[in-house]
Amino acid sequence: MRRLTTESDVTTEKFVATERPWNVVVWDDPVTPMSVVVLVFKKIFGYSNNKCTELMLKVHHEGRAIVWSGQRNRAESYCVKLQVAGLQSTIELDK
């Protein structure tokens, strides 16, 4: 049978598989001074003073905050740096 159209009979779906990022989470505790949390964020991530303060307040009020997202090995590295500086931190796969 002669084709009346040049369109393909086969349908294809285009999609791009992306890896979900890993989050570095810092958890609140009742003893760590706020100024220390801000200082550690500045030192480890190089964020601005405003961003560090914003993240610190999020940890304080919500009990936790995602402070960085990206590749797993870098997330682990940041998590270790935060723990070495005495902050309670973990990594988790982004939902």
């Binding site: 009742p30 001074p33 220390v36 590295s77 270790v80 723990q83 902050l87 973990t90």
Partner: protein, 144 residues
């Protein structure tokens, strides 16, 4: 207020340590306990120093765990080595701050001080140690 500060940044960038002998003794105790706790799995602070990196996994990445142990021990040992110094450079001051903070959080974890209420109800000895470390940290953080 400068006279009341425990740590002061000088014009040449160094951090002056103004702790008296009693203050240095508390610092010695805190730094020493971090070194011992990192090496001794039965130490009451050990769990506080070794929180899981990835709680969703049964076992943490050994490379990350080793890296953490090495860095904690290095900071604490550097802090002990510089304990009697009158002036600290930036790296030494950072090692002091990190080790004070580890001692503070390990004390909180070991004594179950997980909320403000629990902290208020802590024994006077523990509370005194916590408040002293917090004072050191406030002052040191101002300089860095």
């Amino acid at each position: 207020m400068a006279g009341n500060r425990l740590f002061v940044r000088r014009r040449d960038g160094r951090i002056e340590v103004r702790l008296n002998e009693a203050g240095r003794e508390i610092a010695r105790e805190a730094f020493g306990r971090v070194v011992i706790a990192e090496r001794d799995p039965d130490h009451v602070w050990h769990a506080g120093l070794n929180a899981p990196i990835d709680p969703s996994s049964d076992v943490d990445d050994p490379v990350s765990t080793l890296s953490r142990q090495n860095e904690i021990a290095t900071n604490a040992e550097l802090a002990i080595m510089t304990l009697n110094e009158q002036f600290l450079n930036e790296g030494e001051a950072w090692a002091w701050l990190s080790t004070f903070q580890l001692a503070l959080r390990s004390t909180a974890v070991a004594n179950g001080l997980v909320s403000d209420e629990k902290l208020d109800a802590a024994s006077p000895v523990v509370l005194d140690f916590v408040r002293t470390l917090q004072q050191f940290l406030f002052s040191l953080a101002e300089c860095l």
